[in-house]
Amino acid sequence: MPTKELNHIALDALKQAGAEKAEAVLVKTEKTELNLENGALKLIRTTIDHHLRLTALRDQRQGSILLNKINRNTLAAAVQEVLAIAASSAPDPAHDIAPYQPAKVFDKGEATPDLDLMYERFKTFIRDVTVDFPRIILLNAYLDFTRQTTFFQNSNGVDFTVNQGGYRFAVTFSAQEATGSSSFNNTGFFTQNLDQDLLDCGSLRILLAQANQGQAPRKVPEKFTGEVIITPDCLEGFLHSLLGITISDGPLIAGTSPFRHKLEQPVASPDLTLASRPVSPEIKSGYFITSDGYEAQNATIIEHGVLKTFLLSQYGANKTGLPRAVNDGGAFVVTPGDQPLAALLKGVKRGRLLNRFSGGAPSPNGDFSGVAKNSFYIEDGALQYPLCETMIAGNLIHLFQSITGISQERIDFGTALLPWIRAQGITISG
């Protein structure tokens, strides 16, 4: 099994072979996974993997290689190859590696899984769902424990070691209806231990209870523009899409981002405060170092509607002259609002509760359209019935500028902490 020492050998070899700057990242992963298929536990998986990523810079040219067949012989060949790849690249002075930072070891989570407890928790979940939500069909689910160790070293003296372990649960389900089964839905969460029953984590009880009602879905009565309540399960995808087209490397380097001149300016509703908090205790998964070798820090991305940072890597920052982000994004925490969810719902004259969005990738200008799945029609402040064959269309940027309320309640997914958000200006058609 490769060790941290391998990184030092690789860095020495890269420098001797002519690299002006070099980086070596060794990641070792062990996973134990219990799998359910169509209601029954069917499979246990044990997977062991490791990979080494080498990056070399010479004459402003960068190349990298990732391999998992790692020993001294393959390492020598990989060093030669990564330098050949770098030599073939076009020169770009923006390529660089992270500067020296004090060496650090980060530890989070458990070191080994408790397979018997995993099995017991999973069995309890299956039994509880059967009793509490008899219409639910568990299509597939998995509970895994993953232990990962990362050694990150570079020729500037960066020397980080990260040990992380935890449990991840994901489930896809549908519900029996009079004529077959409902649309499937899925959710999940991350946790560092199995102290709680699975059913009590994340949004599981809420989503299963909604699906278990067994009400026949209907189409919307007509096309209209109304309000939408975006659930926490749905919100995370919308946030990733919004930030992906506005403040990440791609659109900022290309110069096409609608937010490229918006730092410290309003970009969203004053109700919205969004942070990326990968090293906060409220995020159970998280990460300690960025992909380009900096110690990660928490950051507020949007504060009361004002854009506080871009999500630029070191390369993106060098390329654009804009400040580098202190983390890689994700680990979202949205500040709760001042209204209970029930009040948010009561304020909707006509609209929908959006549990899942199945749509095309949003356009670079924020336009999106797609199918509203597992969602409910709202009229006069109350959920009326589940919807089928219903599409929504709007613009992501306008959506977050048109927020009319944020719930006090939030769902803790372990990977993110998110409320329900109400917004207006969505076209709903069926």
Binding site: E37, L41, I44, F184, K223, G250, S358, K373
Partner: protein
């Protein structure tokens, strides 16, 4: 791989699959002339999957050594035994594969050097930058993939397969009224780079065509939301075949309550529609993702899902085939050495018809001609959606204004009932990837279809 898998047969104590796999990929990317990415990735290892008394155990290791093989076989066997002891299940034996031996031929071409590849892409990028200075941004990305597998099963199957794919993705972005408008296209497909791309100049007419579409798209209008009669270009039909029909016919989804379960033998589509998941050869040619032996050691056969509108069958692995009492179709596939085989499509296509695409468009009074898809998703109810990045209004049989990015959706079997014309023109989509717990390369193809779908708009 320096080990002979057959020398480990004595470790098998139950039904066992032992697989060595190596995935190689190469990504070289240019963003607005900047060489942002130049990286090669290679991962390899061994895995074993064991079936015992109705329970499965799986294990994988990157160490393709005798010790690595012993570890994965013993651990997978232990995992299956652990679960079998706790979860009494139907432990009937799986259908036995015939004893087969298969080996794909090795590649014949000489791979270009990293310098040649970078130079090729840089030449394409310079062509775009020079000819189209109005563009706000452009991307040129090469993505090469190579999958090598060797499989040994306790049934006696021994198969070596090799799959490679080379794709160049071109993306163009223009700013219109201060907002970015983009269009991209993927070129290439199955095969090695040097056999698919002989010179940058061959791409220029296609790039010019892409730019022309983009110029019209920047002036585009929102589609009118609602149900519309549309002509779907072959690329969209391929996604429809995959997302809307193929997924609902995967036997694991059928067992989970997919809408097709009770419809076997029934008319589910227009009699103009026939749909097949091809194993390796279709319409006289090798498919985009040829599978001769699947990752359970089953000889892959074509799976006819719909024949002239009638639902004929499902996609199976060994376990689902036993449940439905039919022969396995060879649809069990795994993406990485550390993945277990799942029921996956291979090359799913609606068969060509007798109409002409030109006449189909001319027959539309008020609708849309939808040309290029983006991502898609499906549901067990057969409700599908996929993004459309290029399309045009059709009024009185004439192509009109381009439309902005949109999404189409519908209940697949209702949509297929509305099919009123199927073109002779047939095309496979370049570079299909499917996500179902694991990614996997797939082929998606079809003719143009005239049908009614729901379109998302304002």
């Amino acid at each position: 791989m320096n080990i002979d898998l057959s020398s480990f047969k004595n470790l098998f104590t139950a039904y066992t699959e032992l697989r060595y796999q190596e995935n190689n990929s190469l990504v070289i990317g240019f963003l607005k002339g900047n060489n942002t990415t130049n990286t090669r990735l290679t991962t390899s290892g061994v895995s074993a999957r064991v079936y015992k008394d109705g329970a499965w155990g799986f294990a994988s290791s990157p160490e393709a050594t005798a010790d690595g093989v012993k570890f994965v076989v013993n651990t997978a066997t232990h995992n299956a035994a652990f679960l079998a002891a706790k979860e009494p299940q139907d432990g009937a034996p799986l259908p036995r594969s015939e004893r087969i031996s298969h080996r794909d031929p090795p590649p014949t071409g000489r791979s270009p050097s990293p310098e040649q590849l970078v130079d090729f892409l840089q030449t394409v990028d310079r062509y775009i930058a020079t000819k189209y200075p109005r563009l706000a941004s452009r991307t040129v990305v090469l993505n090469r993939m190579e999958l090598k597998k060797t499989l040994l099963t306790s049934d006696g199957a021994y198969a070596s397969s090799l799959y490679d794919r080379s794709l160049i993705q071109i993306g163009l972005t223009v700013e219109h009224d201060g907002a970015p408008v983009s269009l991209h296209e993927v070129f290439g497909g199955r095969g090695q780079f040097e056999t698919l791309f002989s010179s940058p100049e061959e791409l220029y007419p296609k790039i010019d065509q892409l730019y022309e579409h983009l110029m019209r798209k920047q002036e585009g209008v929102y589609a009118a939301a609602g149900v519309k009669t549309c002509v779907l270009a072959p690329e969209l039909t391929g996604i429809l075949a995959h997302e809307a029909i193929g997924h609902t016919c995967e036997a694991d989804l059928v067992l989970g309550g997919s809408v097709v379960g009770p419809k076997l033998g029934q008319l589910v589509a227009s009699p103009l529609v026939s749909l097949v998941d091809f194993a390796h050869t279709a319409l006289g040619e090798t498919c985009p993702v040829p599978i001769h032996v699947d990752d359970e050691g089953t000889t892959a056969t074509d799976a006819v899902l719909i024949d002239q509108g009638i639902l004929k069958g499902f996609l199976h692995n060994k376990e689902s085939a036993r449940h439905f009492q039919v022969p396995p179709t060879g649809n069990a596939r795994a993406y990485r050495f550390s993945d277990e085989p799942l029921i996956r499509m291979r090359n799913t296509a609606i068969l060509p018809g007798k109409d002409s695409l030109e006449e189909m468009i001319a027959s539309l009074d008020d609708g849309y001609y939808l040309i290029r898809p983006s991502n898609g998703q499906a549901d067990a109810t057969s409700e599908f959606m996929f993004g459309v990045t290029l399309g045009y209004e059709v009024k009185n049989g004439k192509l009109g204004r381009a439309i902005k990015d949109t999404t189409i959706s519908g209940l697949a079997f209702q949509v297929l009932q509305t099919v009123s014309a199927v073109s002779q023109e047939f095309k496979w989509l370049n570079g299909g990837m499917c996500g179902k717990k694991q990614l996997i390369p797939v082929g998606l193809g079809g003719p143009a279809l005239k049908c009614q779908v729901m379109i998302g708009g304002r």
